[in-house]
């Protein structure tokens, strides 16, 4: 498959960009922040996304979706990164959707996917318990009690976990924290949990979820008991590739804004962009963005081609490492090259900087993925 967009994908990219420019953007992000919005997103925007069909891109058409390509969905998510558009799209229409598609029973698929595709249902994935991503460290206990399962423990840093209708929780059904066996996934109603919304630096919220002996009925398990990672890791890899698309979008936006500033801002009677020190740094950053774009597109293509999980994992870790670094460079350079005004809240650069680090930390930062890439490559 050639590493270019086809006509449909290009059109989707353009229409997503136009829509988000009108209905989202840094100003909306500021409003949400300044009003200390508990939800962290505008339900109207989410509704509009659903009406555009974005929530159903990855759902097959016989289950109410569009069954369109990952490359297509990637274009939307890149634009979401560029416009800082907050919504449950990634957690529900990507992570949860892929989890249900990969691990759900026939009934679960029939029940959940049409509602996910319609944007009627929001779902969050609760994996981590500590500050650094580590699914194996899961200690939250799942104990069988007759037909029911009793969950006890705490999940932290759950993306959209503070409001999602349902939560997919990673729990330990046997073994000990640190082991990859003995982990299972369960579907839990959000309402039965004690939830706290923890504010994050990017003005969004994480859910902190308390499971105090939460009882759930039988049949709420997702995938094979004790073998959650077989379903979870592929879904996380898909999510990581989309995080990379989001990081690419926000990095490019920072670069574009900075490039404009280099041409406008005058010092010593000339535009600062005439200084070679800045020209070279801009050229290096542009080159890095081109490399980053190749990884993102290859990752999305790899999903569409149905490459083996090993191939996808390796590419996902390469992409997450590189995109985290490029986003770090792009956001840091954006601030430095703006000088004093770059440090102020007047500019949007700060919003992008903060969002970049939150995205990086979720589901493994550059260090986690560099090491994982090495392991997956056999060294």
């Amino acid at each position: 498959m050639a590493l270019i967009l086809n006509e449909e994908e290009s059109m989707l990219r353009e229409s997503a960009a136009a829509f988000l420019d009108e209905h989202a953007g840094p100003d909306l992000m500021r409003q949400l922040r300044d009003q200390e919005d508990e939800l962290g997103y505008r339900p109207q925007l989410w509704q509009a996304m659903a009406e555009l069909g974005w929530t159903g891109v990855l759902v097959p058409d016989d289950l109410g979706g569009l069954g369109f390509s990952h490359v297509g969905m990637g274009q939307i998510v890149e634009q979401i990164g560029r416009t800082l558009a907050a919504s449950p799209l990634v957690s529900s229409a990507i992570t949860a959707t892929v989890l249900v598609l990969g691990g759900g029973s026939k009934d679960q698929k029939a029940q959940l996917l049409p509602r996910l595709a319609a944007g009627e249902l929001t779902m969050a994935l609760a994996v981590d318990e500590g500050p650094r991503h580590d699914p194996r460290a899961t200690a939250l206990k799942a104990e069988q009690d007759g037909d029911q399962v009793v969950l006890s423990g705490t999940k932290r840093f759950v993306e959209d976990g503070h409001f999602a209708d349902q939560v997919i929780v990673l729990a330990r059904s046997s073994g000990e924290a640190g082991q990859s066996d003995g982990l299972s996934l369960y579907l839990v109603d959000g309402d039965v949990l004690q939830r706290t919304a923890v504010p994050a630096v990017d003005s969004r919220r994480w859910g902190e979820l308390q499971f105090d002996g939460v009882r759930i009925p039988g049949g709420q398990q997702l995938g094979q008991p004790g073998r959650a990672l077989e379903v979870l890791e592929p879904a996380l890899d898909v999510t990581r590739i989309y995080q990379c698309a989001e990081l690419l979008g926000l990095s490019r936006e920072c670069f574009d804004v900075t490039l404009r500033y280099l041409k406008e801002r005058q010092q010593f009677g000339v535009p600062i962009g005439s200084f070679q020190a800045l020209q070279h740094r801009a050229a290096i950053l542009w080159t890095e963005l081109e490399l980053a774009q190749s990884l993102v597109l290859s990752g999305l293509k790899s999903l569409d081609q149905g490459d083996s999980p090993e191939q996808v994992s390796r590419l996902a870790s390469a992409a997450k490492t590189k995109l985290s670094r490029v986003a770090q460079l792009a956001t840091n350079e954006a601030i430095q090259m703006h000088g004093g005004i770059g440090m102020t809240d007047v500019l949007d650069m700060g919003l992008y900087l903060k969002r970049a680090r939150v995205l990086e930390a979720q589901y493994g930062d550059q260090r986690y993925h560099a090491s994982r890439f090495a392991r997956l490559s056999g060294y």
Binding site: L3, K263, Q279, I284, G378
Partner: protein
């Protein structure tokens, strides 16, 4: 699609039948490469046979038209050929400045007579070319070149000095930038001319490199007669052609760094030499350095692929400066890390050693336009900073 599959099948069979076994192993050193030319001494019968067979099909220059001895393949077929050659580890039958640089320039700007004269011998590896661009006073500022060509009616008389001319002492012909008008602005008075290195007045003197070898020379041009029929394109319009040719050179240099590193990835070398402890390389810092390189190398390889696909779909791109810059810097990093992997073994002074390759790699970001010049080009032409 089906035609391409058929082409793949035929190509595979042909390669299977025609590529000698000894030409299916990776080059151990650059010395094993075949450059061709009048004075070329083949290293083995197989090397000669392999060149002749490939040249016969025109597959030394797969995309050139059949008319000039090329393979007449389209880009997709050429990609298939490359893939099938890689699949059996087939060596490049011919390395050639003719194929990489002057050939493409002739195809685009040369007269029919020049194409007929020069392209077929390039395809067959009979004539080896060198590049006379740089001068002692004109490196990065190439357009400041001073080598003068005086108009004598049907020919020019050329005087001047070239420097860093790779393989000038082994080449048969030179493509050379000369000043044909010194009254006009520096970019407007330049022509690209071709001449035989055996012409009277041409002499070369090898220059020793830090790597111990002498792949390049000073070239002295003393009243050298060049026929006007050997001017590529129009007189005084050579600068455009020179830049076009540089674009090809940059893509070649940028891509080659990776091709060289690509046959044996750094991590594979490290695993072979250092072994694993608990599934990991024993030195975590080295492991991390290798990983950084491997991820960047993967991103670069995918970028080369993407750029190619974009060029196929949309025509020419403006990415050669980026590929040149990144590919060469990547190759330099590769060798620095390799020193870490191989330790003092890498620093033993002998022919074809890691030490020599490491030293040679330093030139990658200088030859064909330095990294700084590539960054200038990106900043000015692509980003519009000035």
């Amino acid at each position: 699609m089906q035609e391409l599959a058929e082409f793949r099948r035929e190509t595979r069979l042909w390669l299977e039948d025609n590529c000698p076994q000894s030409m299916r192993t990776p080059f151990v050193s650059d010395k094993e490469r075949c450059w061709g030319g009048r004075r070329w001494q083949f290293h083995s019968d197989d090397q000669q046979l392999w060149l002749e067979r490939m040249a016969q099909k025109g597959w030394t220059a797969p995309t050139w038209s059949r008319e000039y001895g090329g393979g007449g393949l389209n880009k997709d077929q050429a990609k298939v050929l490359k893939q099938e050659m890689a699949a059996i580890g087939a060596r490049s039958p011919l390395d050639s400045f003719g194929i990489w640089m002057i050939g493409p320039a002739l195809l685009k700007f040369g007269s029919e007579a020049l194409k007929q004269q020069h392209l077929p011998p390039i395809v067959r590896g009979e004539i080896r070319w060198c590049q006379g661009y740089s001068e002692p006073g004109a490196g990065s500022d190439l357009a400041g070149l001073q080598t003068r060509a005086e108009d004598r009616g049907d020919h020019f008389i050329v005087n001047g000095q070239k420097v860093w001319t790779s393989y000038a002492d082994r080449a048969d012909w030179m493509f050379c930038l000369v000043r044909t008008d010194s009254e006009v602005s520096k970019h407007s008075g330049i022509s690209l001319v071709l001449f035989d290195m055996e012409t009277e007045g041409v002499s070369t003197r090898p220059i020793k490199l830090i790597s111990g070898n002498s792949p390049f020379c000073e070239t002295f041009l003393d009243n050298v007669r060049v026929e006007k029929s050997q001017v590529v394109g129009d007189i005084n319009k050579g600068w455009t052609i020179a830049k076009y040719l540089l674009t090809h050179e940059r893509e070649m240099i940028g891509g080659m760094g990776l091709a060289r590193g690509g046959d044996r990835s750094l991590s594979r070398v490290a695993v072979e030499e250092l072994g694993l402890e608990g599934g990991q390389l024993p030195d975590p810092v080295l492991r991390s350095e290798i990983t950084d390189w491997e991820i960047d190398a993967l991103a670069f390889a995918l970028t080369c692929e993407r750029v190619n696909d974009e060029i196929k779909a949309q025509g020419v791109g403006n990415t050669s400066a980026m590929l040149k810059y990144y590919g060469t810097e990547l190759n330099k990093r590769r060798y620095e890390t390799l020193l870490g992997v191989q330790g003092r073994e890498a620093l033993v002074w002998q022919d074809h050693s890691t030490a020599q390759h490491w030293l040679r790699s330093k030139g990658n970001s200088i030859e064909g336009g330095t990294s700084e010049i590539q960054l200038n080009i990106i900043a000015k032409r692509i980003l519009g900073l000035s």
